[in-house]
């Protein structure tokens, strides 16, 4: 059990890191892109804009918690 927890912890730290909110927002942005694209509306612009917002928010959170 400890090994499984450690394994999960390692991959969480490795991929998600110290800002889980950024990961959640990226997932939401991808979901919205998929929904727009499947409605046959141009959707390529959404991810760059979303990343700009997520990065800014993530930086503010990192600075606040420093």
């Amino acid at each position: 059990m400890r090994w499984i927890k450690g394994f999960g912890r390692f991959w969480w730290d490795f991929v998600i890191g110290d800002d889980w909110l950024a990961a959640v927002l990226v997932a939401v942005a991808i979901g919205v892109t998929a929904a727009i694209a499947h409605s046959h509306i141009t959707a390529w612009w959404l991810m760059p804009v979303a990343v700009l917002g997520v990065l800014w928010l993530s930086l503010r959170r990192a600075i606040r918690s420093a």
Partner: protein, 248 residues
């Protein structure tokens, strides 16, 4: 060679070089403090584990449909890349300390020199484990990048070429100077890797979600330009904000 493939090799090279510089620091500290036999055995054992991982996961990834793979890989790279980019921007704007390979080497060396001697299988166990863990952990990032970049772009061998080039360069320079590569512009390289991971993450997650880029692969250049411009702008903004916050 297409824009995508050029980026693929360059990104794999840069990301691998950064991780290998860090792994080299640990192997050197272990070798100098605990003996080269144990340190090199740890390096060799970790390399075998990493090679097995690539051999096992590589073919499995290529069996997944490309759009599903790009969606998963794009999302992973984007989350992973934003971590790198955030840290790089915080370092460049002065909110986070710069990565100092000399200081890390001194700390690892002091810890390794102070540890008790325990011999197993004819090796100094501390030296072996230190080197093994260091190479395995840094190497896992290389494996992750090579497999995700390679599979999503449709060529794991091309990504492996980039990583192999970095290995040859870092190992060669490491053997020649026998000191941590403190003069490597590591923070600039990390910034570049963060930019590239984020660029590929945006590109593939968008394609995987079912949207199409105008100009197909060529739009990678546009995404790259956008990510660089945003990152530089954020560094300037945060740097100015930090300077204004410091009392005169």
């Amino acid at each position: 060679m297409s824009t995508g493939n050029t980026f693929l090799i360059l990104s794999a090279f840069l990301a691998s070089a950064v991780e290998m510089v860090e792994a080299l620091t640990i192997v050197l500290a272990s070798g100098l403090a605990r003996g080269w036999k144990s340190s090199l055995a740890g390096l060799g054992a970790a390399t075998v584990v990493l090679a097995v991982l690539v051999a096992a996961l590589g073919p499995a990834l290529t069996a997944i449909p490309l759009n599903a793979l790009r969606l998963a890989v794009g999302a992973l790279l984007l989350v992973f890349g934003l971590q790198w980019l955030r840290k790089a921007i915080l370092r460049a704007s002065g909110y986070k300390e710069l990565h100092d390979e000399d200081a890390i080497f001194a700390r690892e060396l002091a810890e390794a020199q102070g540890a008790e001697h325990l011999e197993r299988a004819g090796l100094d166990w501390y030296g072996f484990v230190l080197s093994f863990k260091g190479v395995l952990l840094e190497g896992l990032e290389v494996v992750f990048i090579v497999l995700t970049f390679g599979s999503a772009q449709g060529s794991i061998p091309l990504a492996a070429v980039g990583a192999a080039g970095a290995l040859v360069l870092v190992a060669g320079v490491g053997i020649a100077v026998r000191a941590p590569l403190a003069r490597v512009p590591e923070n600039l390289m990390k910034f570049s890797v963060g930019v590239m991971l984020t660029t590929f993450g945006i590109f593939w997650s968008t394609e995987g979600a079912g949207a199409h880029w105008p100009g197909s692969d060529a739009s990678l250049l546009g995404v790259l330009g956008f990510v660089i411009a945003v990152s530089v702008l954020l560094v300037r903004l945060l740097r100015r904000e930090r300077m204004e916050a410091v009392p005169a």
